[in-house]
């Protein structure tokens, strides 16, 4: 029980004292049990007042501190730090919010606001009397980070962490690295190709001892938490031995009789069951797609490196932090959506990019030379109906860039853009300006009246009521129709459910706070970056990847972590294990242990997040949340209901 309390009531330069009679608050609090000193102050958060508090605490041996000021969201940490500087355990500090929930909310009723402030301060005093000193929960933190996804964000983050001296396990579900970036050709703004960028990153990673790259690898379980994640990873074999002869492998690919759609090229081409994505794909040697392989054995005959005896492996990885960089899927239009699947010549933007990459000299698709190309924007984005209300951010620039590249690479190309308002934000505007200069034609419609697509005997026609020309109906009959599809979350996001990662309204992974904690998730120790968090271009993905790298590094670099000790506590005397608390816990923090003959619940301190979900379900009221115990809450309620 704290008996020497200091209470400070803030004027907030008038923000509070214009409506709340702070002197009266002070007077009525002075007589409260345990209050040793009560003061008013112009700005409690000013350096001068903070210094004064530190001196007061030290000179008077205060054992509890209350500041009645603005919302605790602003200055709880400030005043906790004040008590720490005065060598008073910071959990002996209690904050009373008499501005946002006092003077401002009741600026129409000064007497009422004053009365409320008095009761709020009394209630804080009641709480601080019962407050106890707590130590942060110190847990060891393994100096290693797992990065899930080896696209451009994941690879870049891995290199950064490696540079900081932190061992990294880079886990990629596919058999090849590079993610979506490896599928793009010339990139805006550097004119590098996606392959070149990926090659550079791969070579950098390959040369580092402290990065372990595992491909064909999927996280299947996690039995740990911040500081000590234990991931089980299922690794699918390549069925090809490490040191293989390239010529023989080329023969093996040639003789493979199985032909399946090639997802690397977004199914516009096909590949064999033994394949690699492009000649210099990384890692360098191919893989056998065992799902489609018929085990005919032709490849084994021409290549000694084929090894069907390789087995699936389960690898365990122990890390202090996990970074999610699992990327996005391009939106797949529904059948008939703007002519998709009704004509072979209606393709998505990613398919179009592969088509232009795979052609040289002339642009030919399915035997037809392509000259006139129509682009319909916002396919699968900005939909008022359906799931995808959001703008996919990258597609306007990407489509314009792809259309310009097509014009540069092939002759006689004409581009017709059917937009909903071009969103080439920032410096990307220059690309749009260039496109206009190059003679590309832009139409625009509002969402209510989108362009329509007709397919007649294989011929496509696109019509629009163009708002730029007063709603005139314009029809274009293109050789190829490109549906500018947006980004959607990965269709297989099972890895997220393993970590219970929350998703936002847009179904992408959600950060805690876009501005305050933009790469952290509510699951401590797990960071997110890149397009798994929402649409981003490469630069934006890398910025978030490096931010997440710094954040993950800060979780592991000191070898230990301090966690907030506001957690659940079980009274072992009262508890007769029934398991209800374990069921209620969303974090798997409750375990049953035997205490002699008796079975009781225990809380894993480093896993408990202090939500309190276990409290109300206990049939014998054996659980309290530290700092929110029955005693504290009920004393606060008593203070709030007291008469002034």
């Amino acid at each position: 029980m704290n008996k020497r309390l200091g209470v400070y009531i803030c004027h907030c330069g008038g923000n509070i004292s214009d409506y709340v009679d702070v002197e009266k608050v002070k007077e009525s609090i002075e007589g409260e049990e345990g209050v040793f000193l009560a003061k008013t102050t112009m700005f409690a958060c000013s350096d001068a007042t903070q210094k004064e508090m530190v001196e007061d605490i030290r000179n008077n041996n205060l054992d509890g501190l209350v500041v009645a000021s603005c919302s605790p969201k602003l200055h709880l940490l400030t005043f906790r730090a004040v008590s720490e500087r005065a060598l008073l355990n910071k959990y002996n500090y209690v904050h009373a919010n008499i501005r946002e929930q006092g003077s401002w909310a009741h600026s129409d009723d000064k007497a009422g606001a004053t009365a409320k402030a008095i009761q709020l301060v009394r209630s804080a005093v009641a709480k601080v009397r019962l407050a106890r000193s707590l130590d942060p929960i110190i847990i060891p933190s393994k100096k290693a980070v797992a990065v899930i996804g080896a696209g451009v964000a994941g690879m870049r983050a891995a290199i950064e962490l490696s540079d900081m001296g932190c061992p990294v396990t880079l886990i990629e579900r596919e058999h090849f690295v590079g993610g979506r970036t490896s599928q793009w050709d010339i990139l805006f703004t550097t004119n590098q190709t996606g392959k070149e960028l990926v090659t550079k990153l791969y070579n950098d990673i390959a040369g580092r001892d402290n990065i372990t790259l595992i491909t064909g690898a999927e996280v299947i379980s996690n039995t740990g938490s911040i500081g000590d994640f234990v991931l089980k990873i299922r690794v699918t074999p390549r069925y090809i031995m490490d040191k293989c002869d390239e010529n023989n492998l080329a023969k093996a690919i040639e003789v493979c009789p199985v032909v399946v759609p090639d997802n690397f090229n977004f199914t516009i081409t096909s590949r064999k069951a033994i394949y690699h994505n492009f000649p210099s794909e990384y890692p360098h040697y191919p893989v056998i797609d065992i799902e489609n392989c018929t085990r005919c054995g032709e490849c084994e005959k021409v290549c000694k490196s084929v090894d069907f005896s390789q087995q699936e492996q389960i690898v365990e990885v122990n890390v202090g932090s996990v970074m999610m960089a699992t990327g996005f899927d391009p939106y797949t239009p529904g059948e008939g959506e703007f002519g998709y699947k009704l004509s072979d010549f209606a393709v998505t933007l990613p398919q179009f990019k592969r088509i232009t990459d795979l052609n040289e000299g002339r642009l030919v698709y399915k035997g037809k030379e392509i000259r006139n190309i129509a682009y319909i924007y916002c396919v699968g984005s900005r939909q008022s109906e359906g799931d995808n209300n959001y703008c996919s951010r990258y597609c306007c620039t990407s489509a314009i860039h792809a259309s310009l590249e097509a014009k540069r690479k092939f002759s006689n190309i004409s581009n017709f853009h059917f937009t909903r308002g071009v969103r080439t934000y920032g410096k990307q505007e220059l690309l749009y300006a260039e496109s206009l200069r190059m003679g590309d034609i832009y139409f625009q419609a509002y969402e209510e009246n989108p362009p329509s697509v007709d397919v007649n005997n294989g011929e496509i026609s696109v019509s629009i009521n163009d708002i730029m020309t007063g709603g005139r109906e314009i029809t274009v009959e293109p050789d190829l129709l490109v549906l500018v599809t947006g980004m959607v979350p990965r269709s297989d996001n099972s890895v997220a459910s393993i970590f219970k990662l929350p998703k936002g309204r847009d179904r992408f992974f959600n950060e805690i706070h876009m501005k305050l904690r933009p790469v952290e998730t509510v699951i401590d120790g797990i960071t997110i970056c890149g397009a798994c968090q929402g649409p981003k271009n490469i630069t934006e993905s890398v910025n978030s990847a490096l931010s997440a790298a710094a954040k993950s590094f800060s979780f592991v670099n000191k070898g230990q972590l301090a966690l907030e000790p506001i957690i659940a506590e079980v009274d072992k005397e009262t508890c007769n294990w029934c398991g209800k608390c374990q069921e209620a816990c969303p974090f798997d923090a409750v375990k049953m242990v035997k205490e002699g003959e008796k079975e009781v619940a225990v809380i894993n301190n480093s896993v408990c997040k202090g939500c309190g979900m276990c409290l109300p379900v206990c049939p014998v009221n054996a659980i309290d949340l530290i700092a929110f115990s029955d005693n504290e809450i009920e004393n606060m309620i008593d203070a709030l209901s007291s008469n002034i």
Partner: protein
Amino acid sequence: MEKKSARILVFSTEKISDPAIDMAGLLKLHYPPTVYTIAVPCSSGIKPRWIMHAYEQGFDGVFIAADGSDCTYGESCTEKTGRLVEVTHQMMKGRNIDPARLRMAAICSVCSESFVKQIKSFNQYLLQSTKS
């Protein structure tokens, strides 16, 4: 003496609904000053006995400003908060307290106006029901 406003205890949540109540103040959206807030980490961790204690101490009403689907501790929050309200309603009936004196609504971190609207209507209800 006739009361101008009812005494209402609000349980808010530190990360979601308390910021909304703060913002109501910031926007000078007024509500009765006999509305007091205790912030807890998550609305699904409120014990029915705390609520009962408030009635014993003379509070006219208790309002749970729940996390709803925004809860940072998981999706089960809504369901669990609903259940503890149910349990409390039973206890209230047992002690002959009008169950309508406990209300719950999901208040998102920016739902200030909704909070004030809810509280005003709750206040109206409580004033009328205590008069009769």
